[in-house]
């Protein structure tokens, strides 16, 4: 376990660093923020002062060194826009996104498992056709459009839920209802596919030969085996959500990291952007570890102790996180 973690950290640290450096450089490619923050008729002198005050006149490498020096001392810089600590802003926005992402994924997985299993019981049956139709439609509706229609119908016309905001449980309905569509659609397909193949595995027949009922066969024997591919895709989808559900956050006024990120891009608020990226990259890193652990929990074959038997198969088991997602 420890050696696994160590390996994992080493193999992920470099990409993490590359991401940060890339963001750092790319952000600065978007131009000097001086004109955004100075009065329209600011003089050259004022611009130069501003640029110098924020160290933007230094060569990129120096700026980067400064930044990483600061990061090592847990100083992530201050926001140009609000003057607050960038880390504070990112940390404040992140829980909102996380809550949204977690609820969405739990719901999406739950629904997808039910619908996908149901569809898989009779491949190409009527239930299968309906569920594939519904899930494909769910996955292909532009989310912003769905959000606005949702507000129109459920908040204005029916008045069941508030239009937006974060106060009260009812306020979660629309954002999550919007967000859940795409993961749900994608997962139904994956779950269905995995269930179809799990249900045709020999161990299903074995279970039936012991007199197990259909329900037991599905919930007990097939589902857990079908969970690995679904987990891979769910992981990728969660990464997308953790990176911020910009559109939904924008529309519903959800104070999340996606909105903060896009705002800081638009405002050239580099420190905040970097803090956000750093935070989400670390979160994604943790997420991947969690997914690895889940794999091991769900499937004993990928647990470290299985070395011997795997050796007999002569082929190293592929690292689960690197397997391809079915469709995102």
């Amino acid at each position: 376990m420890l050696s696994y973690l160590r390996k994992r950290i080493i193999s992920s640290a470099l990409p993490l660093l590359v991401v940060i450096v890339g963001v750092f450089a790319l952000a600065r490619l978007t131009g000097n923020p001086a004109s955004l923050y100075l009065p329209l008729n600011a003089t050259e002198q004022m611009r130069a002062d501003f640029t110098a005050r924020h160290g933007l006149d230094q060569p990129l490498l120096v700026q980067m060194a400064d930044y990483f020096g600061g990061v090592l001392q847990l100083d992530f810089g201050t926001s140009l826009r609000t003057g607050e600590s960038a880390a504070t802003m990112a940390l404040r926005a992140f829980p909102a996104t996380l809550q949204l992402a977690a609820t969405t994924m739990v719901l999406a997985i739950l629904l997808a498992v039910i619908v996908g299993s149901w569809a898989a019981l009779k491949p190409n049956g009527i239930a299968d056709r309906i569920s594939s139709f519904v899930s494909m439609a769910a996955a292909s509706i532009p989310d912003f459009w769905l959000a606005i229609v949702g507000i129109w119908i459920f908040a204005i016309t029916l008045g069941w839920v508030p239009t937006s905001g974060v106060t009260g449980a009812a306020a979660w309905v629309l954002p999550i209802g919007t967000l859940v569509m795409r993961p749900f659609g994608a997962l139904v397909q994956v779950v269905r596919g995995a269930m179809v193949s799990a249900l045709s595995e020999p161990y299903i027949k074995l279970a039936r030969s012991k007199g197990a009922s259909q329900t037991r066969v599905v919930t007990h024997h097939a589902l857990r085996n079908a969970s690995a591919p679904a987990l891979t895709v769910a992981g990728d989808l969660t990464v997308g959500l953790v990176n911020g559900a910009v559109v939904v956050e924008t529309i519903f006024g959800w104070p999340g990291i996606g909105k903060l990120m896009i705002d800081s891009i638009l405002q050239r608020d580099f420190a905040v952007l970097q803090a956000c990226v750093l935070l989400t990259a670390v979160a994604i890193f943790v997420l991947n570890i969690v997914i690895d652990l889940l794999y091991a929990l769900l499937d004993p074959r990928v647990r470290p102790a299985s070395a011997v038997s795997r050796a007999r198969k002569a082929r190293p088991a592929p690292a689960p996180v690197e397997t391809a997602p079915a469709n995102a």
Binding site: P202, K210, G211, R224, P300
Partner: protein, 347 residues
């Protein structure tokens, strides 16, 4: 364990029939239409005895077994016939009735031992499942039973291995676990579909030993499916030789092997490289079995049979009694009985 013709014939009469299959037809839907994978199969398995289903790959052995156990793939279905387990027709049971029988009275060991176990549950849980389903045992009780079962099939240190996962066992051990699962509730009938094909000879010997002792212990009827003539010769009392979905010949093993009444059986026996000299050419059956969708009218073996005559192309030979306790489906089975080589029979 050696069973000679004499002893088995004697025993056969004494043992009650556990499974009686009659006129079993199994159809498969294929792109080319519905084809008959098993046609008019019939045999009897007796308590305390081993009946071998012998035949080449694809001849319908597993299909027959799965039809009896009610576990056919979705593309296949039983089209006719009956399979009576101690008098009750398995093929006409409701799913619910069948679930009651499954595991409790009829155990089955599947062909692909290495994949048949559910990879995500400890073997103990899987072994105990039958007790939970049929006896409503608690998890702890089921586990205890599982330990006992593992001990019974000769798995060392069952207490510690009961929590291990299938992949942590070798092929032979997994096969033992499957067998243990099938005999958990001491069924009357055990169907073992190629239980040793994937295993080494030394392990095969162990497994065969185990099956034999379990059979004797529980007075079970065992249906052993295999394509290994030598295994049949050593393990079975009776043999059913199948070819292209039909039964070619059946009878006590000793008699059938000593004196085959169907040219296919004869051909098989001759292609075993047993006494042949190093480098000498083996007698082999030319060609390959017909595809299911192209089963010829008349005798299914006609294309490969050295004896084939006009009558073979027109008329499918019925399985008929050719000697006491022996049946064969060949127009020339009587001439085969007397001829020592196939050539002699040429009319």
């Amino acid at each position: 364990m050696t069973s000679t013709a004499e002893t088995s014939a004697g025993r056969t009469a004494a043992c009650p029939v556990v499974l009686r299959v009659e006129g079993l037809d199994v159809d498969i839907r294929t792109p080319a239409g519905t084809v008959r994978a098993v046609s008019n199969a019939g045999f009897e398995a007796r308590a305390g005895q081993t009946l071998a289903l012998l035949g080449e790959s694809g001849c319908g052995k597993s299909m027959t077994a799965k039809a009896v156990a009610g576990l056919l793939d979705p593309v296949a279905h039983v089209a006719g016939g009956s399979a009576e387990l101690e008098g009750r027709d398995l093929l006409r049971m409701t799913p619910k009735q069948r679930r009651k029988v499954a595991g409790a009275e009829l155990g089955i060991v599947f062909q692909d031992a290495l994949t048949a176990l559910n990879p995500v549950y400890p073997v103990g849980v899987q072994l105990g499942e039958a007790f939970r389903i049929h006896h409503g045992a608690s998890a702890a009780r089921a586990r205890e039973q599982a330990v006992q079962l593992m001990r019974r099939v000769g798995i060392p240190e069952p207490e510690s291995r009961v929590n291990a996962y299938p992949h942590q066992f070798s092929g032979g051990m997994r096969q033992r676990i499957l067998i243990a699962m099938a005999v958990a509730l001491s069924p009357r009938l055990l169907i073992a579909d190629e239980p040793t094909t994937a295993l080494d000879v030394t392990v095969q010997a162990q497994i065969m030993d185990l099956l034999r002792s379990l059979r004797e212990e529980g007075d079970m009827a065992v249906v052993l499916i295999t394509h290994d003539l030598a295994v049949v010769a050593e393990e079975a009392d009776d043999v059913v030789v199948m070819y292209a979905g039909t039964v070619a010949e059946q009878g006590p093993v000793g008699q059938v092997f000593a004196n085959p009444r169907h040219p296919y059986t004869k051909g098989l026996l001759e292609s075993v490289p047993v006494d042949a000299e190093r480098g000498s050419s083996l007698a082999s059956i030319p060609g390959s079995p017909p595809e299911l969708k192209n089963i010829p009218a008349g005798c299914v073996y006609q294309d490969r049979c050295p004896l084939a005559q006009a009558v073979c192309r027109q008329e499918r030979p019925v399985l008929r009694e050719v000697a006491p306790g022996r049946r064969a489906a060949c127009h020339f089975s009587d001439s085969l009985a007397t001829a020592s080589t196939l050539e002699e029979i040429q009319p």
